[in-house]
């Protein structure tokens, strides 16, 4: 850790990991209810469990992004953060908002737009926190060295904050409501968040492989260009069946088919940088997470997205377990794993324990990734059967669901594996104080002189 104010990231990562734990436990409970549906059915109905599962995910990923920004911007800009106090104030607002949201969900107070269920005051809190963050980070970047990594990161964070405005716009017309809802949901995860992800990946490659900055940054621009060129009009693949014009079927099909490109590019980028790199960085776990994230994102977001993105296919698969399979692996690969990668890289530096090879952390990677892969496979099989029975034969929804019981049991097993991995990850970051296996002594990388 080169700059004192990077320490802010430590608080963000700790809160993020706490919410990560809540998120996977919520997911485990939801998976349990699929198998034993009477569990807690009156005390804590499925819709509330799912709300906690998805909201905790989104908030902890954002906290991770904020933490990542506070960690990497000082190193990139060669400056302390403009205001450390504001950074902590922002975190406090977000924590109060999150606790407030979870509390109101448990009391049955919530909105009704998926993922945007937060009470209005929490939405405003998020907006205020985002504004504080943008001012703080922008002032830091403007005062210091400007790099492609901070430029892309800031572009992504500014745009995603701007899109949050649509969380407040809820037309009475359901089809319009849905259209503007996607402005937040799609343009976050298949647009602006990809910018953040690519910037973090570029930073990690720079640090872990020692490849020349010029090379890394040119790749970065190419990746984010393909992300937005495909992703913006790719929004059309959500506009097929919600009351919008038919031209979205071709627009959405063609452009969203290219959404696989940035993910393929990120995977290629990561591996090529590692091959080209001269540096043998001691933090093997961070490298594993970075490569793993790029690879799983390619399969989860890229391949599994491509699978049902053409309107001729989507006509039959829309809103089945195929969608659930894709959603789970895409979020895990692209955003969960990339967050865990930057946490894995930063934590030893933030806690002053580098070099540090983190064996338990690597075990947690395989537990989580194996579990998520298995979960995706069984949900894909379930979705295939569901698509045939419900969408082609025309059997009723609940009759079809009864036929899928075996897959839901296997999904629960996969979920247990993921939860164990997640808890092990948190344990390895928060509790473990010494090496399980002695590390090699390696030369330190730029910015690691702590």
């Amino acid at each position: 850790m080169k700059y004192q104010s990077q320490k802010v990231a430590y608080a963000y990562f700790m809160v993020a990991m706490g919410l990560f734990g809540i998120q996977v436990l919520g997911g485990l409970l939801a998976g349990w209810v699929y198998v034993w549906p009477n569990t807690l059915s009156e005390l804590l109905p499925f819709n509330i469990i799912r709300m906690i599962h998805t909201n905790a995910l989104i908030v902890w990923l954002l906290l991770g992004f904020f933490g990542a920004a506070y960690f990497l911007v000082p190193e990139e800009s060669e400056r302390e953060i403009w205001s450390v106090k504001l950074a902590y104030l922002q975190l406090i607002i977000l924590v109060v908002g999150t606790l407030g949201a979870v509390g109101s969900y448990l009391m049955g107070i919530h909105g009704g737009r998926e993922f945007l269920e937060q009470p209005l005051w929490v939405k405003f809190g998020i907006l205020v926190a985002a504004v504080i963050f943008l001012i703080n980070i922008s002032m830091t970047v403007l005062a210091g060295r400007k790099t492609a990594i901070t430029g892309v990161l800031l572009t992504g964070l500014w745009l995603l904050s701007l899109l949050w405005i649509f969380a407040f716009i809820n037309p009475d017309n359901l089809s319009l409501d849905k259209m503007y809802w996607w402005f937040v949901v799609h343009l976050w995860v298949e647009g602006t968040w990809e910018l953040v992800m690519a910037a973090i990946l570029a930073f990690l490659m720079l640090k872990l492989t020692g490849v020349d900055r010029e090379v890394v940054e040119k790749w970065l621009y190419v990746i984010v260009a393909t992300a937005l060129f495909s992703g913006i009009l790719g929004t059309g693949h959500h506009f097929y069946w919600i009351g919008l014009p038919g031209y979205w079927q071709w627009t959405g099909s063609i452009f969203s088919a290219f959404e696989v490109v940035p993910f393929f590019a990120m995977m290629s980028f990561a591996f090529i940088m590692v091959w080209k790199g001269r540096r043998n960085h001691p933090n093997k776990a961070a490298l594993l997470w970075a490569l793993g994230s790029a690879t799983v994102a390619f399969f989860g977001a890229g391949v599994w997205g491509f699978l049902h993105t053409f309107h001729g296919v989507n006509f039959y698969t829309h809103g089945t377990q195929i969608t659930a399979a894709h959603g789970h692996l895409a979020f895990y690969g692209a955003y969960v794993a990339m967050n865990l990668a930057i946490i894995t890289y930063a934590m030893p530096l933030l806690r002053g324990r580098a070099p540090y090879n983190q064996v338990l952390n690597m075990v947690s990677f395989w537990l989580m990734t194996g579990g998520m892969a298995f979960m995706t496979f069984v949900l894909t099989f379930a979705g295939t059967i569901q698509t045939h029975m419900q969408r082609i034969v025309g059997d009723y929804y609940m009759d079809v669901q009864d036929q899928l019981a075996l897959f839901y049991m296997m999904r629960l097993g996969a979920g247990v594996c993921v939860v164990l991995g997640a808890l092990l990850f948190i344990y390895s970051q928060v509790v473990v104080r010494r090496e399980v296996i002695a590390p090699n002594t390696m030369p330190k990388a730029e910015g690691e002189a702590a």
Binding site: Y34, P37, N38, S41, E42, P45, F46, N47, R50, H110, G111, G112, R113, E114, E117, A148, G151, D172, N173, L174, S175, L176, D177, K178, M179, E217, K218, Y221, V222, V224, A225, L228, F229, I232, L233, F239, Y240, W241, I242, G243, L244, P245, W248, Q249, T251, F315, Y316, H318, G319, T320, T323, Q390, R391, I392, G394, D395, Y396, Y397, M398, Q401
Partner: protein, 150 residues
């Protein structure tokens, strides 16, 4: 490639190209907005009852179990065409009565069956909810869903 595509060219392509696609996207959504209002949802007025029904739908977060036009959770049946499935799409009174009867019977309490909670909903709100679901059902969704099963 490295000589033709310099870093600054890559940067310019990124920012310029993104701006282009943002403009195209805004133009298309502007047209789509008008299309929704004037064409695809114009078959039934957006009455105060429908709006009330939408608020009831949102207050109870139905979307986190059901899907509506295929979007939502995948834990409970699709409701975008539920009034067609029940055969009451063209009969507001039957739509209300069928929905009211269904909601009053929840939760079923059957062991091993997914449970829908009981919701405190006034008759006026229930009528709104039925109208909202009829309104959603009449939307031109390009022929989706493929079968009445939703």
């Amino acid at each position: 490639m490295s000589e033709i595509l310099t870093k600054s060219r890559a940067r310019n392509i990124f920012y310029g190209g993104s701006l282009f696609f943002i403009v195209v996207f805004i133009a298309m959504t502007f047209h789509s907005h008008r299309y929704v209002v004037n064409v695809s949802t114009a078959g039934m007025p957006l009455s105060p009852e429908v709006v009330l029904g939408k608020h009831v739908w949102e207050r109870h977060s139905c979307i986190n179990c059901h899907t509506l036009h295929g979007e939502g959770a995948y834990f409970a049946p699709e409701l975008g065409n539920v009034m067609t499935r029940w055969g009451v799409q063209d009969d507001p009174q039957s739509a209300f009565e069928t929905l009211d009867g269904w909601m009053a019977a929840q939760p079923s309490g059957i062991e091993g069956r997914r449970q829908m909670p009981f919701f405190e909903i006034t008759p006026e709100e229930m009528r709104g909810l039925a109208e909202f679901l009829r309104w959603a059902d009449q939307t031109d969704t390009q022929g989706w869903p493929p079968t009445d099963a939703g």
